[in-house]
């Protein structure tokens, strides 16, 4: 099935869109053979620097490159302003929701979000009840996935409020583009993204515990070098000039979290952790975890360390909660959500389940806790048998699923052997929250490289593009 999609460069109805006009002029002057060469250069650069990611369950290709396309995705200054207003509002609401849900739970009392959704949700951490993190921030780093349907329709697909990844690709993609096409950046004013690591560092320093004396010591906590996103953890630590630590380096010493250095234990004030909640503290959560720090939750509760993002933030980006986001945004900000949600059927509701089962061939069905494109069904692309099998799963565990219409995500051209060809894209801008909200002008554009495919996840054959926000 082919969906008629809105192309961001060359929509069929109106012709070349203005954000792309300067780029298009440049592109027409290029020799196609040279562009193909540049494409190969890009791959060499990525492989040499070791920008790879691991795909779970693939022994042979345990280190793969995320394919990179050299045609940028371009967003005008105006479009960006509108997006950032919507994102800011949403991020404010997410933090307010988290503070509320771990304290007075006003939104449950007001009946805007059903109690059961929180009570039996694994992402809700009872350990966080009554706990207010340093500076009152719960989710510090957020990657909001946004899709576009037409000239003026943007929707939020997911709020990644736990440990969003991919920001290193945003930075490396820009770096690579600037190496490959320096002249382009002289001709076209593109807003810079390079200062993200500095902003991240400042942002983390601003939410240090109150008790911290002097400049805070910041560290990035990684599960280790075999983790699929290890490259990014090392990259960010390096760019911020902070230590990259593993659980085995850390220990609680005199009421503080400390890392083992060649000169003894040194206190850490802010921990940017890229380890899931359940692995964070074997004394509080999974007892078998070797990735975390025994006792870190006690230090946290005593206010002696900032953990970014806070434990328990997953309750805000849970796919079941997602469907309530319009209500949540309105409840805490007092205004209608600027960025809409994709209509979502909650299979836990009998009427919705009935609808989903009847229309399964038109819908995308997702697991509430799934991620990375695993465990989902894309109805229009699935065989009859796959749909039937999935229907059985829905009957068995309806609360485990939500469904959404198959949207015609906007397309952007990529460079193929046969010239430019449209492919579906989404966008993940990165947001930093401290005493203020900062959004880096750009983000990660993920692109489904297979013709007609709607799945942009890198683990499922997706690629990336540099994302330009024009300084116009």
């Amino acid at each position: 099935m082919r969906l008629a999609a809105f192309d961001e460069m060359l929509p069929e109805v109106s012709g070349l869109r203005s954000p792309y006009s300067a780029y298009d002029r440049w592109l027409k002057e290029q020799d196609p053979a040279r562009l193909t060469e540049k494409m190969q250069d890009a791959e060499r650069v990525f492989r040499k620097t070791g920008i790879t990611f691991a795909v779970y369950g693939e022994q042979e290709a345990s280190e793969r490159l995320i394919p990179f396309d050299i045609v940028p995705r371009i967003i005008s200054g105006n479009e960006w302003r509108r997006l950032t207003q919507g994102i800011e509002q949403r991020v404010q609401a997410l933090n307010a929701f988290l503070d509320d849900i771990y304290h007075r739970q006003e939104i449950l009392r007001a009946g805007r979000v059903p109690k059961e959704l929180i009570a039996r949700n694994e992402a809700f951490l009872p350990e966080m009840i009554g706990m207010r993190p340093p500076a009152g921030v719960y989710t510090h780093i957020i990657g909001v996935d946004i899709v576009r349907i037409s000239e003026n329709e943007f929707y939020v697909l997911e709020d990644n409020a736990r440990t969003p990844s991919g920001v290193s690709y945003m930075l490396e993609n820009r770096e690579t583009m600037m190496q490959l096409f320096p002249e382009l950046f002289q001709q076209i004013k593109v807003r810079p993204v390079e200062n993200y690591p500095q902003l991240l560092r400042q942002s983390l320093a601003a939410v240090r515990p109150q008790s911290t004396k002097g400049a805070p010591t910041i560290a990035v906590l990684t599960p280790g070098s075999f983790n699929s996103a290890y490259f990014e953890h090392a990259f960010l630590a390096d760019q911020m000039g902070v230590q990259l630590v593993e659980g085995q380096d850390l220990r609680v010493v005199d009421g503080h979290v400390a890392m083992r250095t060649t000169e003894g234990y040194k206190q850490i004030d802010v921990l940017y952790r890229r380890v899931d909640d359940s692995f964070l503290d074997p004394l509080s959560f999974r007892p078998d975890s070797a990735l975390g720090v025994p006792g870190i939750m006690d230090v946290y509760r005593a206010g002696n360390i900032t953990i970014a993002n806070a434990p328990g933030t997953g309750i805000a980006d849970d796919k079941a909660i997602y469907s309530y986001m319009p209500e949540i945004v309105e409840f805490y900000t007092g205004r209608k959500a600027i960025l809409g949600n994709i209509p979502t059927w909650r299979c836990s509701e009998p009427d919705s389940l009935k609808y989903v089962l009847e229309h399964i061939r038109e819908l995308v069905v997702k697991e509430v806790h799934g991620s990375g494109g695993y465990g989902m069904l894309v109805g229009p692309a699935a065989t009859k048998k796959e749909c039937e099998d999935f229907s059985k799963k829905l009957h068995a565990k309806p609360w485990n699923y939500i469904a959404q219409p198959t949207l015609a995500l906007s397309t952007c051209p990529i460079l193929t052997d046969k010239g430019l060809a449209p492919r579906h894209v989404d966008l993940r801008p990165y947001v930093l929250v401290s005493d203020r909200i900062q959004i880096v002008p750009g983000g990660l554009t993920r692109v489904a490289l297979k013709e007609g495919s709607l799945v942009v996840n890198s683990s499922q054959g997706g690629g990336t593009k540099d994302t330009w926000v024009l300084d116009d």
Binding site: R47, K48, T49, G50, G224, S225, Y230, A234, A237, D238, Q243, L244, V245, E246, Q248, D249, M259, R260, T261, T262, E263, G264, K266
Partner: protein
């Protein structure tokens, strides 16, 4: 400030880079011996494996000491943790772990060495290609060393890296000597037979010193000179004295930086003092084999003490 785990990663990364290269050099020397002395090739390959510390593991897998078997085992067999391929792989895993401590050039040279050796050693080596494979291994490790020396800041990161390099190198040179110590004993003969000359040259070749030897000593190989060169010469980059000169220097830098001296400082200092005070005659009088066995033991202890004193684990 440096994490203990990072210091550990740097130390082992460099030990394994050194080891990857040493394996190639041992195979190179063995190959030369086997070519020049066809009747007793298997004995030569046996001593190559002994020097590599891989003889037991080898005999569990193979019954014949042939060039193809030994080269395969020492260069590309990843079930042998000391093979060139396994060493480069371990070095790269450590480099990945300590990536934030390395310059981009250093990381890329290690990553590229790993990629190119993985490609080259993917299939069994054709004997005709062996010399070019050995060259390529030496070239890749030389590139790593070059970008490391050319770009790294001379701080604690550099110190821990160098400790790994020189502990491994000292161990390697001492083992090569110990496997062949009997051909260096004066009781065998003072004027070498053709056979002895081959043996002596092989020792020098396995530490890439067969040419430089002639720049320092007279053209003829003499066992005492060879032993002197590999043990006591301060300027020969693979001699035990040379290794300890740098080991004590880098340990001193660390001691000064951190304002603290540890057991490893005492151990390294003792070995260093013994090497600078001693003469080759005294070493032979007291027994070359005993000397080398003690040295290897103390060198291993030094490695353990460094790990403990600087909280590697």
């Amino acid at each position: 400030m440096l994490l203990g785990r990072t210091a550990n990663g740097l130390y082992w990364m460099n030990r394994y880079i050194e080891r990857a290269e040493n394996m190639a050099r041992l195979v190179d020397a063995g190959l030369r011996m086997a070519l020049t002395r066809t009747q007793n090739a298997s004995e030569e390959w046996n001593s190559v494996l002994l020097s590599a510390g891989s003889d037991v593991a080898f005999t569990q897998k193979y019954s014949d000491y042939t060039a193809a078997n030994v080269a395969d085992f020492l260069l590309r067999d990843t079930s042998n943790p000391s093979s060139t391929m396994a060493s480069i792989e371990t070095a790269r895993n450590n480099a990945r772990m300590v990536r934030t401590a390395l310059t981009r050039e250093t990381w890329e040279s290690i990553n590229e060495a790993w990629m190119s050796l993985k490609r080259m050693l993917a299939r069994p080596i054709d004997e005709r290609d062996l010399p070019s494979v050995l060259d390529a291994i030496k070239r890749e490790t030389a590139l790593i060393r070059g970008s490391f020396y050319g770009t790294m800041l001379r701080n604690e990161i550099f110190d821990f890296s160098q400790l790994g390099t020189y502990v491994e190198r000292a161990d390697n040179t001492a083992r090569i000597l110990d496997v062949k110590y009997y051909v260096l004993l004066p009781s065998i003969s003072w004027v070498g037979s053709t056979l002895d000359n081959y043996q002596w040259e092989s020792i020098l070749r396995s530490v890439s010193a067969h040419r430089s030897y002639r720049w320092v000593y007279e053209a003829d190989y003499k066992p005492t000179n060879i032993a002197d060169y590999l043990i006591l010469n301060v300027r020969m980059p693979r001699s035990l004295t040379f290794c300890y000169r740098f080991l004590t220097e880098h340990l001193r830098f660390l001691g000064d930086d951190y304002g603290e001296r540890h057991a490893c400082h005492a151990t390294a200092g003792k070995t260093q003092a013994m090497l600078t005070a001693g003469s080759i005659k005294e070493i032979f009088d007291a027994g070359l084999h005993e000397f080398l066995a003690n040295f290897i033991r103390d060198n291993t202890r030094l490695g353990d003490e460094i790990a403990q004193d600087y909280r590697f684990y």
